[in-house]
Every structure is written in C-alpha cells, then in structure tokens.
Amino acid sequence: MLYIKDLTKVFNPGTVNEKTALTGLSLHLAPGDFVTVIGGNGAGKSTLLNSVAGVFPVDGGQVTLDGQDITRLSEHRRARYLGRVFQDPMMGTAADMNIEENLALAYRRGQRRTLKWGVSAAERAQYKDLLHELDLGLEKRLTDKVGLLSGGQRQALTLLMATLKAPKLLLLDEHTAALDPKTAAKVLALTQKLVEENHLTTLMVTHNMHDAIRLGKKTGGALDNDRLLLS
C-alpha cells in the first residue's frame, strides 16, 4: 500500500540553520494497517507526514502509494489519495467559511472545481447525518462559521472532512495533542470509529505511548533524532 524508502529531509541545507529532520527512513503499510509512529518533540514526526503529503520536496528516498511513485507529485495532486488531520486544530479548516462549506470543499477532494453550486441540498442532508453522529451538536450549526468552534470541535470536523471521501491513506499528525484529555479521548474514539467503518489504511504519529499502543494495530517504531528505531 504505502512504501516509504530511504526518506531523507534536510531543512535549510548549506546554512547555519541546517537541520536534518529525517535520515534514510523506511516504512511499509499494508492495506488496512493502522500504524503508529512515536517520537518526542522535534523528532521529525510532522516532517514524516508532510513528506508523504508532499508539503515540501524531499532530499532523498521514495514514497510509493498503491504502486504509484508519488515522490515528485505536487501537494494538491497527491491530496486526492490522502486524508489529513493536522497537529494544529486551526490548520484543517477554513475559519471564515461555515461548516457546510468546509465539508463541501472536502467532499470534492481531488476533483476539478467547476461552476456548479458549492453545496447541494442532497449533500447538506448527508452532512447533517454525519455531524449528528459526532454528537457535538454541530448538525444544528451548518451555517455557523468554523472560526466560532472550539479546537476539539474543529478537530472532529477536520477528521470528518478527511474521511468524507474515503482516502487511500489517512495521515494523522498527533491530532489530539492540543486538546484537553476528555476531548482528546472523544476525538480518538471517533478516529477509531471512522477508520474501522471506512476500512482506512492509517499512519498516525504521536508522542503519546499509550495512544500509540492502544490505537495502532502495528507500531511502526519510534522516531528518535531523525531516525526510525524499529520496535
């Protein structure tokens, strides 16, 4: 499914700020795997996921998804295969747009944007049902600006957006790290539910050993100072 081979990323090469974030990292996910990678602050967790998502070009190695080499594919082209939830709860949604507009943007992930109306009535009904299942009362706030929601609500919404159109691979960047324990537990439960329902292949990074073991069917290992130590 996902093959990461010898991935290397150096930030600001050739300057005093040169920082090797990943060195020769290799990882393999089979279809349906839920793999967790654990690591402390600055270990390169976000860098790993951002490399897979194509946020920046990598300096070496290869990323293959479902047999396709995506190493040089631009970020927006890869997006059609990927669902992403970010470390920062503000990152995954457009604050000045309302809930249904955000969902509608995600519903068309990887599709050409046309001159058709942005949100259809049929979609709206579907969004209501899905939001109802979140049990956060968001189904009544479809036209509220996302900026008005709490971090936890926004992260739950981002999660829903990432899975709205089932991705080949779901990338979770310690998406509960910024939430309080109760909300974090809720969002993690939701993660598990959505992943199971949609049979998603998932790569999650976290600094929380407990989460890593509980959620991951496999642990991909621990990131330590740019290297992946095998578990």
Partner: protein, 298 residues
C-alpha cells in the same frame, strides 16, 4: 448643489466597480494588490484608444476588462511562478503598465471629447449626463454583483475564498492554490480595467496619471462601506461596496464644497484610510475599556 451631488454619486458608482475589484484581492484573497494603480488607466487607455478608432464603446469597454484581466494574470504569474511577494508583484505590474499605457495612448492623455460612449445613447434620449452615468453604471454594477454573488457560491468560487483563508487546508483538499490566486487577481483586475474604461468615458479622456492613489480610494470606499452598511451576508457586503464608494465621493464633494484645496485631497484620503484601518482595533480598545469600567462599577 444637486448638480454636485449627482456628479459625486455618478462618480462613486463608476468607482464602485473598482472597489469591488479591490475587495476581491484585499478581503477575499487577503492580498494587497497594487497593480490596480496601473490597471485603472490601462482600462481607460484601451477603451479610449478603441473609441477613437470608432469601435463600439461597449466592445471597447469589454476589451478594457480583458486587458485588466491580462494585467492581473501578469501579477499572478509573478507572484506564484516566480515566487515574488504579492505586494512587489503588484508594484512591478503597476510600473510596467505605466509604459504600456503611454504606448497604448501614444501620449500622456487621450481625449474622446464628442465621441461615442456607453453613456451617449441615454444622453441623446434626453437624460442629463449624470443621470445617464448613474443609470448605465448602476446597471453595470448591479449586474456584476449578481454575477460575483453567484460565482463565489460555486465550487470554484468557494475554492478561491478558502484560499484567502487557509492555504494549507485548501491544498490538502486537492486544490491548486496558485491557480486560485491567479484567478482571483485576474477577476479583480478585470473589474478595475472596466471601471477605468467607464470613468474615462464619463470624463471624456484617459490620463496616464488617473490611477495614482486609486488603491487608497478603493480601500477607503471599501472600509466606509463595511463600517456603514456592512452585514453578514455576502450579497449585503457587495452592495455595501457600492454604497461605500458613493459615500466616499459625497464626502470628497463635501470637503471640496467646504473649501478644501483639491491638492490636499490625497492627503485627506490617506489619513482617513489610516484612521479607518485602525478603527477595528480602536473599537476593540473601546469595548475592553467599557468592560473594565463596567467591572469597576460593580
């Protein structure tokens, strides 16, 4: 006096189209685009050039819009492909257009006095000049508002709005943010070009200097519109832009009536905009201050 007022309203309506263009970049895309200072005279130059060649003024105005789009494309490409900061990209286009505008007109200004314009047919039918401008400009502005309201509700329009909001999220949804920015700049400058064409026809000449300070005028109108008439719905906000541009012109007419030296106008506008830009923070300060006072009182 009514003559002065009507003149101000008609000018405001023509400039409102430019204001809508500024709104698209400044508010929707979150980019301060200075190319408009060159695009406004570009639209004027193209329209006047074509009118002097006896080309239909409606067609000439449409070509001015297209020329504006091209200028926006240029800024967009500089910004996204060459990775030049948006502000600088706009300045580069603006400077380049200065030469191009001189080329188009063949001189620093071009008169179309007594030639056909989009306003003439109505004037011939017996309307006063100002009334004709208000009618044609008003229909044009309302039509544009309708089209933009529809456009920014579509999938493509939503993608542009989201790009001004959170680019990372937009890319994660498989949208090319570069394309969206270019598209927004193209539409914005197209509107500014059209506005320039209509302004030139209303005053019967194009001038290479007529864009100077136009970004500030656009911002002033935008802010006046938002503060006085703004609302929650997008449609309301678009209408507020037209009203804002008209009120701006009425204020200018008023201070001129009161005897302000026309040479001081730009200084006056700049100070107004600076104050208005500060306003949201100013209001915020006032609110916290009031809250504090209320607390003290309890």
């Amino acid at each position: 006096m009514t003559q002065v007022l009507l003149g101000a309203v008609s000018l405001g309506i023509l400039w409102s189209i430019m204001t809508i263009g500024v709104y698209i970049t400044y508010r929707i895309l979150d980019i301060a685009d200075l190319s408009v200072e060159g695009t406004l005279p570009l639209g004027a130059a193209v329209a006047c050039f074509m009118i002097t060649r006896d080309i239909n003024p409606y067609l000439a105005s449409f070509c001015a819009l297209l020329a504006g789009c091209l200028a926006g494309l240029c800024t967009g490409l500089l910004h996204t492909k060459l990775k030049i900061p948006a502000l600088l990209s706009g300045i580069l286009t603006m400077i380049a257009l200065y030469s191009i505008n001189l080329r188009v007109m063949g001189a620093p200004n071009l008169s179309i006095l007594r030639m056909e314009t989009v306003f003439r047919p109505l004037a011939r039918a017996g309307m006063s000049n100002s009334a004709a401008i208000i009618t044609v400009g008003g229909v044009c502005a309302l039509l544009l508002i309708g089209i933009l309201y529809w456009f920014f509700g579509t999938e493509l329009g939503s993608a542009i709005r989201a790009t001004g909001n959170n680019q990372r999220m937009v890319r994660a949804q498989g949208i090319n943010t570069d394309t969206m920015k270019i598209l927004g700049l193209v539409i914005s400058n197209g509107l500014v070009g059209l506005s320039g064409a209509l302004i030139a026809q209303s005053q019967s000449f194009a001038d290479v200097q007529m864009g100077t300070g136009s970004i500030v005028i656009g911002l002033a109108s935008l802010i006046i519109g938002e503060v006085l008439f703004g609302g929650k719905s997008f449609f309301r906000r678009l209408v507020a832009l037209i009203l804002g541009a008209v009120v701006y012109r009425l204020i200018i007419a008023l201070v001129l009536e009161l005897g302000m030296n026309p040479n001081d106008l730009k200084l006056f506008t700049a100070i107004t905009v600076a104050l208005a830009l500060w306003l949201p923070q100013g209001r915020e300060l006032l609110r916290t201050f009031r809250k504090l006072l209320a607390k003290e009182g309890n």
